[in-house]
Each structure stands twice: as structure tokens, then as C-alpha cells.
Symmetry: C2
């Protein structure tokens, strides 16, 4: 396996390959590892299966009561919505000449048309998709899934696809929440999902210059483990870091929870090698910064599979931190907490990760506590403010109106992120749809935006006479000098509601309209994909849209990369 | 004048217009303000005219002796190379229909075909160009110079140019050092230089969110002065900051001396509005960070006039620093100093600006001291290391093998930058060509690269039997986590050398080849323009070059923006 960028003189070549981790199988029908997930036990309490997380194996007696109270419903553990995964898997299209030619450069185990594998490659992790595979259908999925193992195979695949008029859709972790992998129902060509998981090696580590060249299919948990063995971290930790891949992070323009210290993905990536319909885009050397004309690599950030297949990237790596410290602060209300976040955004050196949650989310956090924990002061009706990965930052100096709530609550808040991702699919079984969406805005727009979106959703919910009460909550998850990122959750009980998944989509679109009117962005880090593409004309000028179309046409005139995002 | 991006709620609209600063006229034939520049006085000593700089009016008795010694020449103050600026200004092409149409939307004082003005708009600040206007010729210059005053006029100009097949070249500060403004000698169309100086207003300042929307023609010194009045700075200080413009910074992908604190231009710009052949690229809101697909605005960084005319940008602004402190450190040799720089690059919070000079440049700095200064310890054969804008950084902890050399030397080194820019044109009159070029490289490549380039240039100089000794020196001017930027000076005495400017170009190209072989970048912050375009195929793959061509074709099919860079 050759490294695309010239290998630095002092680099360690091909560190040992990734260990095969037994039991790391991922679920096909729900989020996450197969061995983990929430369930209701014989005591009628929620418990998380498996052993991976802090929450694993712990009874959570407060969760169901809290859900019942918050949504104003009677949730019956025995009343399960009977899903029928996989609902339907249509026969794959065939293209005999193409498929025969594949066999000349791929092994048999690199090609599959197995139904459940094809299905899994036809969607990401939106509620809409995860609902559809159990309670609806996906009208079109890839016809073939291919697992390339080298840059050369990717290049051959592209040129073969070109000759036989086949559409290629790159697949990383499959964790996108933008319908980016959803296939066009009208696509008449063979659709090939190009699964990058086998291109997962760290090609070199250059300790002296703190860089590593990593294949794009490597997923976050393995990048972390492997770099750790060399005393380094990449520092990129999106909520999906266990499953999402380096290539996916770039194609999504991802943001990591510790971006204050390490930067977002665009700050971490020094170079990208990408296979396109016109050939391989690559560079000879990798320098810290340069001015050599319009940098095409920048177009790959947020490209969502439209322009080519990212095969590897050179990224910054950082010595593991000497200390990881956590903290949390309670504020009497959201406005006080917000003021604190705003100050933090202007600090030259804010904590690595910081988030501010509203009262409802604070209580959600409490509902996820095991029975044995005394809630004490935390149960007051204050706001919870979590400062994680505290370093070089004197809390006492900054917090004027807040009350310190301990490092344990801070640590717990950070770790909970990974478990919470499993809750959506658990709730879906009990007739609750819940999902997140996010935005970013200038500081002075943040609070009005949160207020506007909540009000609008609640009003719309009432107007549609939907059951009981919706769950609408917001948190501020990233701070910048000029503004912040905002994360919303929307959830509701849907028993008796026709097309609940569609209703959710309509509500989210209404919320998005309100976000744009409130001067928020179309997305801070999730991306556009297909779920938000209808909004593009409201954020950019016709000429900008025209440039985008022209760009795509000029570099991929046959639309080989037919994901159709944006 | 309308702001392209929706104006933030709390923004101050149209701060008062820029004061007209009398006497700020710029020279046409040499760098800088007309009232400033080096000359030799009646005592035979170099002195800087004017009152703008610390060096102004100060006799520098050491400079000529130092130059004589360093280059091994007899420099006679009376032996001046008789330049004949302007050597030649050809008659402008005419396009009567186009020129008549211009008058329908432009005032008379917005259009000129005056010879010296046209000439000035046909070049930047490379030695080659500055030599040519006095001792050679520029074969082709713009036929017309136009001074638009609004986005609307720029748009009309472009659509008029399109209809009449006219080529447009945007002009900012005219300070580029890449031949970016040089006109194609074979261009048969009318060439219009679009001088952006009159679009120089700050459209709004949003103190609450620390952003400002500034027209692209505003030059650095005026941006600084105006923001300062509101208690802010943009923090972008390239060496050319007095004259270069916001639009030029973006189009060049510029780097500022204080980038450690404020970032390079790509970190400082939040949004760009640009007029293109397809219309206006603009966005509705300006958020701190977003993921909304491939971001076309990123293509403008380093676009060098090829894609359109940048008309305004939203930039971050920062409260003025409470303290500005300077420092300097002497090291026994370059390697020790380099080790220190490398440590600094990995500091989370390095000083705002920092540079390491080699022994020759250290002595150059001493030669620029006035007679009265005792040199004392500085005159030892140590290296000089300048830490400027020190803040939040404990020098004592880091400097192990260096010796602190005082804040005055640090401050002086920083300020000297602006004066030194005048020296090149002063020396040219005395048969000395001297110019800078720069690169960036990974840390472990920096010292070998400097060594290789120096050796190669010295060997080539000897092989060509050029006069006496060349002046070849390097400094490390920017630090990053993974590497650094390196600045070279090359100078030599050319009396009796045929085509000296051409010889310089050949030597610089040889140096550039050596830089690329030593794993350096084609440019850290100067750009490509025409001076380095021949090297593009050695740094990127054919597919990448093809993408660049396709991109240009797709967004500007008629090549209206005919600067022809890259």
C-alpha cells in the first residue's frame, strides 16, 4: 500500500495493522454495537445491555417515569410497536459486463449483493431512515457493495464504473444524519456502495512533525486506539466517533467535541488524497500552510460523496494530554449560563470542550442516573453547566453567578454522549420519535433563536393536535469567538399518529425555517445531504448555486458520483 | 451602499468614512510612500527620508560599510544606475462601444487611460517588474483603469465587459510579488484594471459579535486606524499592511505577522462577497462555522484575480490588546534557536509573532542601527532571536540555551519590517538587486532546506562567475504545530552583468527547485501568480491541474477575468 503524499524522512512506516476486535459487530437495524442498547428489564426499569459504557448494566429507574411526565403519556413497557426489519429488500439491478470486469481486480470477498448488507448501505442514521427500515421501506438501495483495499482498486473501480455507466456512492461509517446515503428512487444505473472500511490503516506516523497519514476508511475508535499506542491523539471526537470514519468526517465537514483545543476537521486535516472521475487529486509534500492558488482540497470538506472518493488524509496529531479534568457549574437560568459561554468563546484558551444545557436537558441527565445516586443539590431547579476537559482555565475567576457542581457531573455529562445515541431507537419501539438537529449563530442571535424555535415547534405541535406534549430542548455545544453551535432535540409520542416519521420531518423543516429566519445556519456540522437541500436557495445567491452545479458538472460530467447531495 | 450579508441586529451601520490623509501619496516607480525612502546624504551616510518610521531622519553610518563588506564590492555613492522611469508606455487599445457604455454608469473621474496610472496598474512589486519600469519595459499594460464605487457598479462593469469581450484584472494594493498583475503580452482584448481603492468603507461593525463587514478595497493602514477608533483590531499584519488591501489579502491567501494570536487571512475571514461572470456569490447570514456543502468561498483564498472581483468580506475583529510587549533572545547558533522555535510551534499559546534570523540577517539588523547606539553584547557572534508581542508566555521557562536580549531589540525588529521594504529600490539604484522569496516546510525539513538552498545558490553564483559574493540569508518567520515558514533574501551586485533582473529570476527559480526537492512548499503566503506557475505540475497531480482548469472554464467560460495566474 503506497502512501499518496511523499513520506516524511523520519516517519514510522505502516505501524502494525489494527487488531481485530472480536464482538465489535454493529447493529443493522438500530444505532451502535450489537452488544449494547437500552431495554426494559423484569423490574420494569430501563437498563443498558452490554459492558461498553458507564451506563451499561445499570438500572435507570427514573427514566420511564421522567419520560411519562415530560411527554404527558402513559408509556406501557408491554406495548411495543411491532417492527418488521427488514421490511423489504428489492432485487438488485445487474450490469453483467461491469460485474464481470470487477472480478478482474477484486476478490470475491470484496463484492456482495447480500440483501441486508445492501440495505445497510442505503441509509444513514436519520430517524426517517431508521424508521423506514423497520416500519416502512427504502424505495431504492445500492445494488452492489464493494470493499476496496487500496488506492489502486479505488481508481480501477472508478474507471470501470465510468466505462459501464455505473453510479458510485462512497460509504464510511454510515452514521450521517442528512439522508446523504439515500439512493435516488429514479436512478436507472447500477448503484454501487463503495464501503471504505477495509482501507483503515495508519500509513505512517511522523512523530517529529506531529502528522500521520491515515486511510479514509479508518473509524474513530480505531484511530484513537492506534494513535494512543504511540502516545498521540488526533483530538477529533464527534458524537459518532466510535463508528464514523476519517473520510466521512471530511465529507461531512465534521466538528469534534474537543474542537476548542484541537480544532474542527478542517483545522486538523493537512492534506487529502481523493480519487475522482478525472483521476487522483494528490500533492507531493505536506507543509503546515501554503499559498499555491485556490485549494481544491478545501472543496472536499462537506462534499458529501458528490466529487469523488477520499482515500487517505494527512492529519495533525497531538501528544496525549497530561491531565484530563472535568468540571460542571450550575446557573440559576439559561441567560446566566449563556453569558458565561459567551465569555468563554472570547477566551483565548477556553476548555477543550464545553456545553450548556437547558433545564429540560438537565433533568433528562438526572433521569439517566442510577437509583443509588443521591441527587442532592443537583436536583434544584437550576441550570446545569458542564465544563469538560478543563485545562489552563481558572473556573473561580470566571464563574460569577454560577455554582460549581463538581467534576464528576462534568465527566459524566461528557461520557453520556455515547450512551444517549442509543436512546432514539429504544424509544422508537415504544411509539416515541425523537431526534436532534443543529445550527450555529452569532452570539447575539443564540438566545432569541432558541426561544423562537421552541415556541414555533410548540405552537405547531398544538395546531396539529398531536398527542400530549412534545419534548423540545436545546443546548449550546460549541463556542467560537463570534458565536456558538446549538443542538436541539425534538421528540413526541406518536401512537395513533399517521405517518409519524413524516410528521417529524415536517416539524423539523418548520424548525429549520425558523432557524434561518432567526439568522442561524443551515447546519453547523451535520451537513446538507438530501434532508436540507431544499433550503440551499434561501442561504446563497443564484450565482453561488450555479457555481456549485457547474463545478460538479466540470469535474464529474457523467455524474459517476451520483449520491445527489446538496 | 448596501451590505451584501444581512446586517446583524446590533451592528453600527456605516461608521464615519475614512479620513482623507493628506500626503499619503504612493510612489509610482519604487515601493512605498512618496515622502519616504532611503537616500545617501552629504556625509555619505544612508538616511531615510520623511517622518513616518522610527528610522526616518536617522543617519545609518554602518549600512554602506556593511553592504560593501558583505557583497565584497566597492559601492560608490556617486555611481548611480541611470533609470528612465517610465521607460515606455504604449498607446492603449480602444473598444469604443465598451467605453461608451461605461459612461452610462460611471462618472468621468472613475475612468482613466493616463499613461503612468495604466503603467502602475500593470505590475506588482517583484524586482523584475520594478526593474523593468526603470531599466526595461513592460510589453503590455492595462488599456484602461476603472475605479468602481459600489457592488452595483462592479456588477455592471462585469456584464458590460462580457458583452464586449473585454478582460478585467482586479487591482488592490498593487503589492503582490508574484507578477500577478502582469498582463499577457498576447492579449488582444481591451484590458481593464479594476482599481478597488474607492471601495474602502467599513460597512458595519458588530461589536457584540466581534465582526465587521469591510469593502475589499480598504487597505491595511486604514482598516487598522478605523477599527482602532472603535477599540478593535483585525489583527492581520502582513509586511505590506500599509498598502495591501483586504481583497488582495484574500486573493493572495496572505499571512500576517501576528498570526499566532489572530490567525492567517483564511482564519480571519468569515464571509466573502464576490462578483463573478455568473453573478454575485453571496450568502444571507454570517455564522461562526457551518457545514453546508463544499464552500465555494474557500476557492477565493489564493484565487489571484482569476475567478472574480472580491467586493467585501466579513472579518473577525478583536478588542485591542491590553498590553503589547516585546522581547528578544540571542542563541549561540541557528540550530539552538531553531530548537526553541520548534518548541514554540507546539505551545498551545505561543507569542503573537515570533521570528528567528540567521547570523547574516542579525548583522544586517545591526547595520541598520544609528551611530549613537552602543552595540555591546549584541555584537557578539551570537544569533538573534526576536520574540515580539509577548503575552502569557514565560520566557524564562522555555529559553534554556538562549540569552535574553531585551524588549527594545524585539520591538525594533518588528518595526524595522516596514522600513526594510524600502531598501530594495534604494539598492537597485546602486547596481544591487535584492529580493525575498519564501516557503514553508515540516519542522524536520526546515534546517536542511535552508542549508540546501544557501549552498545551491552560492555554488550557482560561483559557477556563473557573477561579481564578488551574493547575499543569501534566511529567517524563520512563522511557526505552526507541524512546521514553519522560511523567508530568504538573495542579493548581488550587478554592475557589468547583462540582464541582471533575468539572472536574479534564474537564480530564484534554481532556489525554488531546491526548495521543492527539500520538501518545501511552492509558497507559504506570497502565492503563485505567474512567477511560479511553471512549478505547479511538480507539486500536484495532473488530475488536480485538470480540475483547476475545468473549474476556471466552468465559472468564467469567456475568461473575462483574464489575469492568467496559476
Amino acid at each position: 500500500m503506497s502512501s499518496p503524499v511523499a513520506v516524511p524522512k523520519e516517519a514510522l512506516l505502516n505501524p502494525e495493522p489494527l487488531p481485530e476486535i472480536a464482538g465489535d459487530a454493529e447493529s443493522l437495524d438500530v444505532w451502535g454495537f450489537r452488544d449494547s442498547g437500552f431495554t426494559i428489564n423484569e423490574n420494569g426499569h430501563v437498563v443498558m445491555r452490554g459492558h461498553r459504557y458507564e451506563l451499561s448494566g445499570v438500572e435507570l429507574p427514573r427514566l420511564l417515569p421522567w419520560i411519562r411526565e415530560t411527554l404527558g403519556i402513559e408509556l406501557d413497557p408491554k406495548d411495543v410497536n411491532p417492527g418488521s426489519y427488514p421490511t423489504y429488500i428489492g432485487p438488485p439491478l445487474e450490469n453483467a459486463e461491469f460485474q464481470n470486469e470487477l472480478k478482474t481486480f477484486l476478490k470475491n470477498n470484496q463484492i456482495t449483493s447480500e440483501g441486508p448488507i445492501r440495505l445497510r448501505h442505503g441509509h444513514g442514521q436519520t430517524q426517517e431512515e431508521m424508521f423506514a427500515i423497520k416500519y416502512g421501506t427504502l424505495p431504492r438501495i445500492p445494488d452492489l457493495v464493494i470493499f476496496p483495499e487500496s488506492d489502486e482498486q479505488v481508481a480501477q473501480l472508478i474507471s470501470t464504473a465510468k466505462r459501464h455507466r455505473v453510479s458510485l456512492i462512497p460509504f464510511g461509517g454510515g452514521t450521517n444524519v442528512t439522508d446523504a446515503l439515500r439512493c435516488d428512487a429514479n436512478e436507472k444505473r447500477l448503484i454501487v456502495s463503495v464501503d471504505m472500511h477495509r482501507m483503515n490503516r495508519i500509513l505512517w506516523i511522523d512523530k517529529a512533525n506531529q502528522m500521520a497519514c491515515i486511510e479514509a476508511g479508518a473509524v474513530g475508535r480505531n484511530i484513537m486506539t492506534q494513535l494512543q499506542a504511540y502516545g498521540f491523539t488526533m483530538g477529533h471526537e464527534p458524537d459518532s466517533v466510535e463508528f464514523s470514519s476519517l473520510g466521512g468526517w471530511i465529507a461531512t465537514n465534521a466538528s469534534g467535541m474537543k474542537k476548542n483545543k484541537y480544532g474542527n476537521i478542517e483545522d486538523l486535516v493537512l492534506d487529502i488524497t481523493v480519487a475522482t472521475a478525472a483521476g487522483k487529486l494528490e500533492r507531493t509534500t505536506c507543509v503546515p500552510r501554503e499559498s499555491t492558488g485556490s485549494d481544491l482540497r478545501r472543496l472536499l470538506f462537506g462534499s458529501e460523496g458528490n466529487l469523488g472518493i477520499i482515500t487517505s488524509a494527512v492529519v495533525k496529531i497531538f501528544p496525549l494530554p497530561e491531565v484530563q479534568a472535568y468540571g460542571s457549574v450550575l446557573f440559576p437560568n439559561l441567560t446566566e449560563g449563556f453569558g458565561f459561554m459567551r465569555e468563554l468563546g472570547r477566551e483565548t484558551y477556553p476548555p477543550s470542550s464545553v456545553r450548556l444545557v437547558d433545564n429540560l436537558q438537565f433533568h433528562f441527565g438526572l433521569a439517566l442516573k442510577p437509583a443509588s445516586t443521591g441527587l442532592g443539590v443537583l436536583k434544584s431547579r437550576a441550570e446545569k453547566f458542564v465544563v469538560t476537559k478543563l485545562k489552563g482555565f481558572d473556573l473561580n475567576q470566571v464563574v460569577v453567578h454560577g455554582m460549581k457542581a463538581g467534576s464528576e457531573n462534568g465527566r459524566r455529562g461528557y461520557q453520556l454522549t455515547y450512551s444517549i445515541a442509543y436512546i432514539r431507537d429504544f424509544l422508537m419501539k415504544y411509539y416515541i420519535i425523537a431526534e436532534s438537529f443543529e445550527t450555529s449563530a452569532a452570539w447575539s442571535d443564540v438566545l432569541p433563536l432558541i426561544e423562537n424555535v421552541k415556541k414555533r415547534l410548540e405552537a405547531e405541535y398544538r395546531a396539529r393536535k398531536l398527542p400530549a406534549k412534545p419534548f423540545v430542548t436545546a443546548r449550546v455545544t460549541q463556542v467560537y469567538q463570534t458565536g456558538a453551535a446549538i443542538y436541539f432535540y425534538l421528540g413526541f409520542y406518536f401512537k395513533g399518529v399517521p405517518n409519524p416519521s413524516q410528521v417529524y420531518c415536517e416539524l423539523e423543516n418548520i424548525a429549520r425555517g425558523e432557524i434561518l429566519r432567526s439568522r442561524g445556519s443551515l447546519s453547523h456540522h451535520h451537513g446538507v445531504g438530501k434532508i436540507r437541500q431544499a433550503f440551499l436557495p434561501s442561504i446563497m445567491s443564484p450565482a453561488a448555486l450555479e457555481w456549485k452545479r457547474e463545478l460538479k458538472k466540470s469535474v464529474d460530467p457523467d455524474n459517476i458520483f451520483g449520491a445527489g447531495n446538496q
